[in-house]
Symmetry: D2
């Protein structure tokens, strides 16, 4: 029987796209069929987004991406001004990225653990499993505690998740133990991060503890409507947009919806001009995650000229697509949007 | 070429589980293999939840379930005290159920539309598509508008989604045009409904409009941390719980997490004693939706004695599983939990 | 640790569609969306095939269907003249159905075994696993041996798999220990069964042993081209045809191809007029199993008026679709085609 | 509306693994999670097979691989002695590879055609569709005709598919118009190719025409039992084996079964020592394609030390896995097995 120390001995190492020039391989895929062809077209569309000076790029993250070794791809994308805004599940941003920023790690599980027959034993050891990846649950509780302390230190009022995550970036800038963090890079490069279901992660635990301790007193709350309002302001301020969607779920829906929200505020905003989604979800269950980008165009959310679905698990497709755009280099001529500055102005004006 | 009127002519009719006694068929499935066997065991576990007087039943909804014809199943489950709490995506509760409560309908799309080649035309006609289902976009805008008016009429403060949805139930009780509504039935039977990503739906549009109009003045906000806090209070007040999870996503994660949240508040809460999940999501992409209930047990969230994954699209599995439990009739001896009453006490104490 | 006896204690019981009138439930599904709607339409198309006096019905079987508890559905379909011809993988017909005809059984595996961590132990015990189902490997070796004895008793020449399987039916009629067998029912009702990859099953083991023992002498061989030739004769003799395809693979392809084969023989044969396929295979990997019936129409194989894909695992969908057609009763007015008689004439003429 | 010429204007170009050194990228993937990690381990296992001088490598092909642009990967693998035997669906070998050897091509379909709404028009134009790939049906009929002429030129007797495919290789050596062919390379390098369901492809059409024309006279037949017998002889002659399985279906089952077949001939053969499978098929429908290699070990077919499933669509995974082994170079020190020579001796002795 394994010990906790044995289980947590092989750490995940994040892939570094700057070291792998995949351009020739992806270009070759463009004359193949099936997923290779779709992936090559998606990579080209992402490169076009970066070459279109007016386009703001919104990256949507769902699934266990950071824990799976993709963190550095997104850190690099932020640093290389290949993304202007991130919409994510809380798990990627808080439980996984912020967690690593605090100095903790993810670990490769022995193959056998995938089967699920040892999960009772893992629970006893305070080891949490994500398919083939392991986390020290005691470290995760520390992460909850840090988010609580951040909440405790803030003036009590409703915050967008974006505002709260920015405070987390500030915390990492001062106290972080691993500078390779999406939250930190986004903080440093004025890239807003939204988690529309923010309580659905480690931060939720911290916030519940915060609110409980405050009792009847004023407290920090997370206003999910404000998230939506802020993202809409960005769309209005920068009408040409592109989506790079990894997984589906709430981030995909939220980012798509912003076109309609702008219209509701009486501002005409065009559909997302570019859109790429990487997913293995199936269209046939009718759920949003697997729904096509064409379907989104019936809702007036995504234009149909430059859209591409890619049927692939993210750990294979993301290094190829983002790596392609990185080595093509359109981002080198791109000015950073620094959308945080738009929001901080906006926030003062309307909030 | 089709007209809008032609497209919106065949309305979805919701399946009525009270008219189909599937008990003999599901019992027969229990001696088969594969999904039939898993479905039969899941149905049995749900029936056990209802026969366990201490167990509070939490229903989690993700995917396009209401629009697909499953609304009446959930309405009946609420009325027959087969569910004590609902955690859902906003789409099911607001865009689809509340929408129908206002008197609008969903429509069967001609088969050809599934392919996506006519989506540009649908956009011109203001018809929105969910795979093989159609919605009148103009009616959906009305639904946004009603949520705005509800927000406008409330005292400005942070609300849990549960509180806001209760106001929607109150609205339907007075103004609704179709009494067959989950929101209305839940209102009448004191069943709380949580949408942890509440701005990610039609209500989000209404709330953005509300907040925009208020400008610098005080406004209604949706506190997603409060959602989590409230659900945790329910778990603490009623430690024995069972999950009936349809689809995955935020509702699944949120409902599972409450066990950990209780612990963070210093209250020991046992893992969910029973758990069933119906999904076609694949475990191999590592995302939460497809992750097994066994995996959740490594996190200390779900017990492994009475758990069952069912690999099936929901429109096939839900009528069989919920119909089985309905016709077995354990619910007839069950006292309603009326958890709204727990929360309204709680809310006064801590909010 | 489990013993062999413990493992092989709960036998699979085959579902009996005659006892479950699913017509009202399936009719209700026709006004729902997603898989429910597709399943209802597929059931209606199958019923139409049976009501069309000219239509010959070809049932295609792939996947572990018999072992999963669907055997009796197909036995009943043969007896109730709901099928005129079967094209199958060898596993369903030989390893599973003929095997049960010899008096052996399939067993429900304990849930834990699905995970695969006990497979080394199963091997030691001579227990074979199909996902959640178990087989006594020693009994399977007996099945191989019977097929060898059948081969040894036949005049040495090339046989179609259909001819060989008919000999297996004759064997069961005389020596079988369980009359509930597809092979036996087909033998008694003159329904031909083709296994186009016949050596890819238990019969292959028997035939290898037969051919090895014969050395240089004349021996029985299985002529897969003759299979194709025979099925083509049926299409020519009975031009109106419908396909009920469960799973994909070789049976689907083989049955579709017969339209083209007829043309190559200079005989115009219309496309399959009706076609239903039940599968969870994904269209996006480009393989035949998941390819749509519309795609088959580009090849001139399947007409597009009455075709329907159903996204469902077979143990859930087959009892509903075949059960629907059974209880609708169009088969009661249907004359059996007795296609064996066509072939035995044909065989004499051309073989 | 498109013309046939417009549709058939962009030909598939096959990816050339010799030009893309993916070793650093795949090595980086070995410290990631999910599919990246599994793919890296699979690539390592394939490299180990090639470094194990005793191991015979069996490549199994199912799905539309050649038409999708993977042909050159397999041609290169044959030429670089990275494979000793191929077991395939007929479609890959005859309709796609032999077809290209005759000088014909596959074409990229316009994206819109994937949806299936234009398939009636394709049929009128004699254009066949495989998801996003197109074929000139008239050229395919030429391919059928060539296989017929090959059959007509052979002495009438039962042939294994391997023998017949070898004649096809001989035909290409003399008459082929494109030397980049798996069938030709295998012919030149003495690599046997088996198609256990050989009539289920273009060759089936040719053979049906051949048999029909022969009437009562002696004719060429395809003995599928002989296929199995030959492959078993190879396993007995070379007990250490490894499987590289792309897709599932008949080729996977057939190659796995050979271990049992050897035992039935009274020869102990060890389980396949190495095994890799690339598939997106789901384990939950119980079919062979998605069944795990661990499950195969319960049947005594595959050892569990060096086995790996990879969840990926083949056009993405194959260039990485085979490319990795190519550039690692273990094959450079490998002696070709030239298994045709084993069989031709064997065939004389027992046939």
């Amino acid at each position: 029987m394994f010990t906790k120390q044995q289980l947590l001995s092989h750490s995940i190492e994040h892939v570094d796209i700057t070291r792998h020039n995949v351009v020739p391989l992806v270009d070759a895929m463009s004359s193949m069929a099936l997923s290779a062809r779709d992936l090559a077209r998606a990579a080209d569309i992402y490169d076009r987004m970066l070459g279109d000076g007016e386009c703001g790029v919104i990256l949507c993250l769902a699934g266990s991406l950071v824990s799976a070794g993709l963190k550095q791809v997104f850190v690099e994308a932020v640093r290389s001004r290949m993304v202007d805004c991130i919409v994510s599940t809380g798990a990627n941003i808080v439980d996984q990225d912020f967690f690593e920023g605090l100095g903790y790690k993810h670990y490769l599980a022995p193959e056998r653990l995938k089967a699920g027959v040892d999960d009772d034993r893992l629970r006893e050891l305070h080891v949490d499993r994500i398919y083939d990846t392991l986390i020290d649950e005691d470290e995760l509780r520390e992460c909850d505690e840090v988010t609580r302390r951040i909440a405790d230190g803030l003036p009590p009022r409703p915050y967008s998740s974006r505002e709260f995550i920015r405070e987390m970036g500030s915390y990492l800038a001062e106290h972080g133990k691993n500078r390779e963090s999406i939250v930190l890079a986004a903080y440093e490069h004025d890239v807003p991060i939204f988690c529309p279901a923010f309580s659905d992660c480690s931060a939720g635990f911290g916030l519940v503890a915060h609110q409980h301790a405050r009792g009847d007193a004023d407290k920090v709350s997370i206003d999910s409507a404000k998230d939506f309002y802020e993202l809409t302001q960005l769309k209005i301020a920068n009408p040409t947009t592109g989506l790079l969607v990894i997984g589906g779920g709430v981030p995909k829906n939220f980012a798509q919806d912003v076109v309609v929200a702008a219209e509701i505020l009486g501002q005409h905003a065009p559909m997302h001009k570019y859109a790429v989604q990487i997913t293995v979800a199936d269209v046939r269950d009718g759920a949003l995650s697997g729904s096509t980008l064409k379907e989104a165009s019936s809702w007036g959310k995504v234009d149909t000229v430059w859209e591409q679905m890619v049927y692939a698990e993210a750990t294979l497709a993301v290094p190829l697509i983002v790596g392609y755009a990185y080595h093509k280099g359109a981002w080198k001529n791109r000015k950073p949007k620094r959308w945080i500055r738009v929001l901080e102005g906006t926030t003062q004006a309307v909030g």
